[in-house]
């Protein structure tokens, strides 16, 4: 397994604590073989999400194989979409936002990514959680 090629995971929550906690769970359960970044809170340190911070997280977790983003509520998704749109064009198609619960989705996506799976498989595994 060449670790640098594993898909990266970005966790976007309205709360910095939720984001950090979810990232802690991923690191403890899955390990360090997956690039991981977590971001939460608005620019004032309150609850919310921040497009610039999300872009920074995507950069931090960047992998040539792409990045899967897990989000919590509404604004986290729309701001993540905006962050993706503002990324360099050649990266955009390698960034996906998963329709999955934040914590479970992050752990599942990271587990899939740790095996070297491509971005589409990582996303499918996270989204499989919604399939009942």
């Amino acid at each position: 397994m060449s670790e640098q090629k594993n898909v990266g995971i970005v966790i976007v929550s309205h709360s910095a604590k939720v984001a950090e906690g979810a990232a802690d769970m991923v690191r403890q359960m899955v390990g360090d073989s997956v690039p991981l970044a977590a971001v939460g809170g608005n620019a004032d340190g309150g609850l919310g999400t921040d497009v610039g911070a999300i872009m920074g997280a995507i950069d931090k977790a960047w992998s040539e194989s792409g990045v899967a983003i897990l989000v919590d509520l509404g604004g986290a998704e729309t701001n993540s979409e905006m962050a993706v749109e503002m990324m360099p064009e050649e990266r955009r198609e390698r960034i996906v936002i998963c329709n999955a619960p934040l914590v479970e989705g992050a752990v599942m996506a990271a587990t899939e990514a740790s095996g070297g799976s491509p971005l589409a498989a990582v996303r499918a595994t996270a989204e499989e959680l919604m399939g009942g």
Binding site: M1, Q28, M29, V30, V107, M108, T111, E112, S114, G115, G116, S117, T125, E128, L129
Partner: protein, 100 residues
């Protein structure tokens, strides 16, 4: 699709008793999936000798198996490294997933 495996492929089976406290819980499930993914063979597990079989490389499906301590985990693999795959999985279970 039957479950007899492809022609020329040898199905290898094994089983191991879950002796760790939490059984096939979240973290053990992740470890089992990560290990299964290292092999090219198809790898499946079940909690009964005759199935139903679950893809051991699928973290979501494995998490849903929810086997408890005291249950026996059955595993089977098909492919060129099937033997190594089932013995590695059985070994992981026997080592209590390196958690205790």
């Amino acid at each position: 699709m039957g479950d007899g495996g492809e022609i020329g492929m040898q199905e290898v089976k094994a089983h191991a008793l879950l002796t760790n406290e939490v059984g096939l819980h979240a973290r053990p499930s992740v470890k089992l999936t990560q290990l299964a993914k290292r092999f090219a063979s198809t790898v499946e597990i079940a909690i009964a000798a005759d199935g139903p079989w679950t893809d051991a490389k699928s973290p979501v499906k494995i998490m849903r198996v929810k086997a408890a301590k005291g249950e026996t985990l059955f595993m089977r693999a098909n492919g060129t490294d099937a033997e190594a795959a089932v013995s590695a999985l059985a070994d992981l279970v026997n080592r209590k997933f390196d958690e205790e």
